[in-house]
Symmetry: C2
Subunit: 516 residues, 2 copies
């Protein structure tokens, strides 16, 4: 009657509707609906929206690129004497009204789809981290392509991480094109889950598109089921476009990539020191990018991604582990729900440098609030440390447990006649006096309870007798096990060889576990 | 312009209205309003309430004590043939309608009041832990009166812990009366913040009341501003009264103590395995206790404290670190808000045995959801480990940081014309292009940002150069510093000597830092 942890872990996740006939049963799954946490009142949501409309229509954004000025003015916008591009309210509100809400992020194989509609919540890595905590030495060092591939492999193996946003900067790439190609390759070779990358130059978009088309078999099949999103920080806040990034955004939309439209101001530095001010600026900036993306292609798969950050005002340094960051991001996610747009959030930044209690506490606070606010794709939800300056292999493993618990809370209470079970309560009270042997208990063990993988639930005595390992050490061991295990095979040999024929890759065939 | 961490820490908290004239400024304070997280829909709240009414009216509770049967039947209840006491709907609903909502928990000195009305959130220790992680050896051992006093001293010194619920079982007490007396004394000697204890025998209530009257100066002054709550687990779930505890509840209410009325079933063992079933049973059981308390004294300061727990159904052992526990407790807190009753929750149980990432993650998830659900008093929010089998001195210190961040999220976004600051945004965008030097930034640094005490925000380089200490080690050092510092003096020498004249105390005068 008692299932072991291993039995439970071997069970695959069940279908999104929770009724996947033969599918094995799990207590959590991708796409559970959030939205029960609303840090903004209705009036506050409306005030933030009105503020954003005002900023876009009357202040506008500087540094628009020519193609953007052309498209936006043709749609009713205007350029001021000091070269700020104004977005009239009707243009922005029409954009919101008509934007695609049916954005599905595909994996390299069926069964990994992430439906970003409604308040469905998905968990993701994230980063662009310049540093890595070495799994063996515990010291920070520069990461290479091999490390990014390993991070992708870990995410591929961890059930509660649904999406791989490239977490590490490939520091061994000789030039920007090699960086983009090797980043994309390392991610797609490491995991079949949907991947998001950024692209450092608009001219590279075609190259990355070709690479993806090769893996997908054809351009058409990639456009139908794109497994790679391009993330674009299209602004340099406050309210200033990033010119190259806007060109990249344009190219990416035209190439059929889903795009994440990201504004990442830093409260007190590049956005206001008030939470509300940072929020309204981020919403305005992100909407400006969304307008542009939809003028490039009204069918653009565009993800609303206001990702406002927080500085430590004593030093001016970015710091993402505080409550200010958590509530600011949750409010931004709520604005995504207010607009009913596919929404991505940054949550899970920690200022901790090591997998310790600070890491666990700071990450959980931000991720859980973003999830309960109904963000569709929470990046940086695992692996990142040191205020985004580092990633940690053991952290992916530990955070996967944290995400399972958070997802269980997102699933919620589920009040029905059956779950209330008043008759069962009466039966037990008038009978045995406990629920241990009640049939309901055995049934619910499988469907309602999420079990940690490296989290320890033993008694102090048993735990001490087994070496008194903390989460960091347990997670390191598990990370080593996963990385020592078989390499993924979802990237076919033919596609792999075709990529190698065109590009000098940092990862050899041996590195990805192919011997032939 | 840049304040140091020490400067910020020296500032005391500002008044509850955030406008305490001369009061130094802090970003968080006791009594911030939660309630933005509602895991239950309106219909689900109503269904849980209806279910609880049905259980109370038609199934009732077993093992009622004679005085309870007398009081409840006189008020319209009845006893069934199989000796279950039934509570008619009207009696329960009248109790809810007429219960005191103006419960204020006092400290031993003015300025420490906790107003449990509305959705005001306060953080508390908690426990009754049989074990303690030794601060020096890191091993689990039995705690004594000295350890409980130290835990109280730590809480006294930590700003974001507002209430001391006795966390350790005094294992060196020779008998139950000595346990109760020494527990109460160690708590009240260690902190001036409001204290909650349980009392092991109804006959001891008078003894503890006398002790409190001595400290307060008179019975009348204690009854006016009671600084000690009696916690009572009045049921042995499912739906069975704990006879001795009910007698204690009766005595405590008569003695003028505020009482916490606690139901703590364990899902899958003593309450249903479904989250909804555990919830409805806990609500019914707690309401039964509330009815009794108000029949004893309609002016009883009674706190609605459904504290449903969760078992690991694979082993049957209590385990509180999972998402099931967090969402179940948050839903119970929401029922407290549904009834608008002073409500206490258990949140912050972790299954971790050490101050590690599991500790941080599990505690934060549960405490933040209970806080956002609007629980008035969150016990076990700090210090506890090992599924409530242990407490840890360093954990109080680390958790104080966590609670600060959570409270900052509870404070929320605060959207006003001033905080949106659209004019300030325009000014910066048309001027300097950043907010670093904006007057608003300096002002908000003090009022809007909560800074961690032992949380590390340095760069990886600086952190490594300083010894690469994790949160556990930093918190241990801080705990040692606090405990090596001056002892609190709020318990007057006269009151202390009067207690010593009547009771054999485990803590000597020297133990509490008095040399004379």
């Amino acid at each position: 009657m008692i299932a072991t942890a291993d039995t439970l872990k071997r069970r695959a996740r069940r279908g999104r509707d929770g009724r996947g006939s033969d599918a094995p049963v799990r207590a959590v799954w991708p796409g559970l609906a959030g939205g029960c946490y609303r840090p903004l009142s209705d009036a506050e949501e409306r005030a933030v929206h009105e503020g954003a409309m005002h900023l876009l229509a009357d202040l506008g954004l500087a540094q628009a690129i020519p193609s953007m000025i052309e498209r936006v003015t043709a749609a009713g916008g205007s350029l001021t004497g000091d070269a700020r591009l104004l977005f009239p309210r009707s243009l922005v509100e029409d954009t919101i009204a008509d934007a695609r809400r049916d954005v599905v992020l595909h994996g390299q194989r069926p069964g990994l789809e992430l439906d970003l509609s409604g308040a469905r919540v998905h968990m993701s890595s994230g980063g662009a981290s310049p540093g890595l905590v070495d799994l063996e030495t515990g010291r920070y060092r520069e990461p290479g392509a091999r490390d990014l591939y390993d991070a992708a492999r870990l995410v591929d193996a961890l059930d509660n991480i649904h999406h791989f946003s490239r977490s590490l900067v490939v520091r061994d790439a000789p030039d920007p094109l090699a960086l983009d190609v090797n980043t994309t390759y390392a991610c797609l070779a490491g995991t079949a889950k949907h991947v998001s990358v950024s692209i450092s130059d608009p001219a590279h978009v075609r190259v990355i598109a070709d690479l993806c088309h090769g893996i997908a078999g054809s351009e058409r099949s990639f456009r139908e089921r794109p497994f790679l999103t391009v993330m674009v920080c299209h602004v340099v806040p406050p309210l200033r476009f990033a010119e190259e990034a806007c060109a990249t955004l344009e190219e990416a939309v035209e190439a059929g990539f889903p795009v994440q439209i990201i504004s990442a101001g830093q409260a007190g530095a590049t956005s206001p020191a008030t939470i509300a001010g940072s929020l309204v600026q981020a919403v305005a900036e992100t909407l400006a990018g969304l307008v542009f993306a939809r003028l490039v292609d009204p069918h653009a798969r565009a993800i609303f991604a206001p990702k406002p950050l927080v500085a430590d005002l004593r030093t001016g340094a970015m710091c993402g582990g505080g409550g200010e960051q958590a509530v600011l991001m949750a409010a931004a996610a709520q604005m995504g729900r207010f607009y009913d747009l596919p929404t991505s959030s940054i949550a899970g930044i920690t200022d901790a440098k090591v997998l310790d209690a600070q890491h666990g506490a700071e990450k959980t606070l931000a991720v859980s609030l973003a999830a309960h606010a109904g963000s569709n794709l929470i990046t940086q939800a695992c692996g990142m440390q040191a205020s985004l300056l580092g990633a940690s292999m053991e952290a992916y493993v530990a955070d996967n447990d944290m995400l399972g618990a958070i997802l269980r809370t997102v699933r919620g209470v589920e009040v029905t006649d059956e779950t209330l079970g008043l008759d069962a309560i009466a039966e037990v009270c008038r009978g045995e006096g406990h629920y241990l042997a009640h049939p309901q208990t055995f049934a619910r063990m499988k469907t309602d309870y999420e079990y940690p993988s490296v989290g320890d639930r033993r008694s102090p005595r048993d735990w001490e007798a087994d070496g008194a390992l903390d989460m960091r050490e347990r997670a390191r061991r598990r990370a080593r096990e996963i990385l020592a295990g078989p390499h993924p095979r979802h990237l076919g040999d033919e596609a792999d060889r075709a990529i190698r024929a065109r590009h000098a890759l940092l990862l050899s065939r041996t590195d990805i576990g192919r011997t032939e």
